[in-house]
Every structure is written in C-alpha cells, then in structure tokens.
Symmetry: C2
Amino acid sequence: MQPASRTNLTDSATGSLRAEIIGGRWGIGERIPNEAALSDLLSVSRGTVREAVRVLVSQGLLDTRQGSGTYVRSTVDSSAALDRVKRTGLRDQWEARAALDLEAARLAALRRTPADLDQMRRLLAERGTVADGGSEAFIRRDLAFHKSVVAASGNRAMMELYDFFTAAITETIHATIDGELPEPDQQAHAAIVDAIAASDPDRAVAAVRAFMAPVLAQLERLLCQ
Amino acid sequence: MQPASRTNLTDSATGSLRAEIIGGRWGIGERIPNEAALSDLLSVSRGTVREAVRVLVSQGLLDTRQGSGTYVRSTVDSSAALDRVKRTGLRDQWEARAALDLEAARLAALRRTPADLDQMRRLLAERGTVADGGSEAFIRRDLAFHKSVVAASGNRAMMELYDFFTAAITETIHATIDGELPEPDQQAHAAIVDAIAASDPDRAVAAVRAFMAPVLAQLERLLCQ
DNA sequence: ATTCATCAAGTCATCAGATGACTTGATGAA
DNA sequence: TTCATCAAGTCATCTGATGACTTGATGAAT
C-alpha cells in the first residue's frame, strides 16, 4: 500500500525554500532573508531553518557566509538527478549502464592505447571463475575487467557514471534478486577485447550487445512476474 | 591563491560520518548510534549532528525514523559522483549523453507507443528554426524534442540522466564556447523519428550517430586548440 | 497457548534562548 | 586620502527542554 503521506517540518521547509529558489524569487548571487526572518516566513524554528538551508547548501543551491548572510548560488536543481536514478527499477539501471558499455567499447576500439590493451588482457586472464575465492571476489574481478574497457575509452564522465551504476545495481540486486542473473562466460568477454584490439568499433558494439542480451532478457522475465 | 582551509564543524562532522558510512563501519540497513552518542563521538552538539545527518539523508546515505533511530540506506555516494562528472570536459559529457541518445533511440524503436510517436512528431513540427523567438527558446524546443525520444524508450533512469547531462552541458557551454557548435538540421531530426516509427532499431542508432557526428567532430577540433 | 491492549524506555523532531565568530559599513583620527 | 576602530547584523554552535513516534515487554482476556 502507499503509506499515508507523512510530513516532516524540515522536509517541507526545504521544499518550500527550494521551490522559491528555483522559481526565481531571488536571483543568483542575491542574499536571501536571514535565519530569523525565514523562521517567521516558514513558521518553523531557527534550528529547522538551519537544517533546511544546510541541505540546500549541500545541493549547491545556496551558499552561506558567516557574518554576512545566505546567498543563492544556483537556481537549477541537478543534484537530485542521480538520487532519482537510484529509485528507478533494476531493468532501467541495467539498460542505462549497458548504453555506457556499448558506447565505451566503441570508443575504446577507436582510442585504446597499447597500455589499455595490456591492462584489459591482464584483467581478463585474472578473472578466472567463481571457484577462485568465492563469488564476492569473482564479481570484483569481473567488474575490474569491465571498468578497464570503459577506461580505455578515455572518457572520464563515462567512468564515473559506470562506477555509480555498478554500485547502485549491486545494491539493488542485493536487496531483491540474488544470483538469479546469468553470468556471461569467458568467451563472451574475450570477444570484446578482440574487437577492441582489432580497432573495429562495429564489432565491439556487437560483442557487447551479444554479451548483454541474455542478462537483459532475464531481467525482462523477472519484471513480468 | 588557495584560501586557507576554513573549517566548519558541520561540514567536518558530515565528512567524518560520510567516511564511516562509505568505509562500511555500519552495513546497509544497520542502525547507527543515536544523536547523543554521535554528539560524543564527533565532539559536537546535537544540533550540529542533526545538520550533518540531515545532509546525508538528503544525499541518500542515511534514513531517519522518528522514534526508532537512524539507519544506513546506501553506501554509494552518488552526489559526489555527479560532482566529478560535472568537472569532466565538455567532450566527455557530450559523448556520455550521446551514448544515452543512441541506446534510447534503439529502445524507442522497439517500445514506442502511438502516443509517444504523436508526441515526438508534434514536438518536431513545433521545433521550427532559430528565427522563431530567439535562440534561447529554440534550444528549449530542440531539447524538448530530444527528451521525447528518450521518454519513448520507457527508461526512467535514462531520462533522469539525460536531464542531468543537458543541464550540465548547457552550463559548460555558457561558461566556455557559445554558439560555436553546429546545429543539425530538421532533416537529421526527422530521420530519427522515421526510424523509430518504422520500429527499426539499427536505423535509429545509425540516424542518431549520423546526427551526432558533426557536433562531436567540432568538439574534437575545439579540444585540440 | 494465543491474542491484544497497555505501558515504559529509547529515539528522533522541534522549539527556545544564549553565546561566540565573522563580516560589513560607518566613523573618525592621522 | 588612508587606515584603525567600532557597532550592528548575521551565521555557527551549544545547551536544555518538550513532544511525537517506535518498539519490545508485560500481563490480562480469550
């Protein structure tokens, strides 16, 4: 069931304040009312106002200067984006990460240095099987390999996002299904490296897509239950 | 000059607490010490502890339940990941968004509903040219169209990320180059819609890639200067 | 033995008041 | 004109208190 909407004063104060900022009540760089005034405006205590302001500071919307006041730093709320991504379903997260995997493999095929190639081959060789040191360690080795592919793309934004998705997906899997996803074999992994080594972007994309297909199919199946 | 590191208690408390969480001192779902205990551990007042906890709650790391305690919700610091993505170069951000565009177009070709198609065609028709209402408004209409393609993919994670990149890229472009990027024409846009309408994922991918190529080439050129 | 209302302890939510640290503009002397 | 000083305003932090909520224990009723 949908839980009855439980309100808490700090969140509602944060929301009101954020809405005013995003709505442009104060311009960028402008000083907002002081704590006492906000306390009156929002009908909450100064402590609550401080908590709300602190949250908006941490989200990059506000900026406080001791002795001077609190100023608007930005009027676009981008910080909540990844939070909302976290709350999307496992299939959506997996697909988004796959999008990064695909394009990263393509770019890696175009840009990889010999050092990148060495790194990828080394990690692929070390990957081994689940039997070596348990599934926890195997997953770590598997991820290290995938990350090396993304690293070979030379795109730092993709690397950061890949890290984020990997962590988020791991959490979601822990919280829901566990061990129900098929694990692509060594050969599927090697095909990706080969395509990148051959500097063949199309084959790299195809290899990653073939690699992802069974996992996504299983996710779709779980989604339908 | 680098300003002398100015410490403020709440930030330092937030940092300590975040470090303990990320470091795995408490597992996911586990309850952390109460406010009084944290106050002792961090040597700050309860008010300061509350501000620190509130920030971590807003970042999705903690979860407070009145009457029960404060619990670890996640050990992934997504807000920091986003900050790091923002600090990467324009080319990296654009490529990452392109990766989303490509896969979203492919998924849209597989999943789009008639309503999605109507929406895309309507926005494409309304897109018009720079002459209608200035470049600011044109960019907004252009983005609305692209977002409708991502929306047709039915993937919420991709939509959120697309929004984030759009905001980040807009900020970066405003701060650096402005108006130096080529703008794909109406025909290139229509090709994407046609492929999606035909439910042809490969052609959709090709259309988006052709669409992106000149912009990326220009970014590479600017990067080399 | 099971069920359920009641209760007490623990915890977060919120408020109020006070003091300290810092910024800023005004003031006035050199 | 320059510069030290000062006072008012503001955020930073602490302390103490009260209310609301959760949770597990208790014990009576079935």
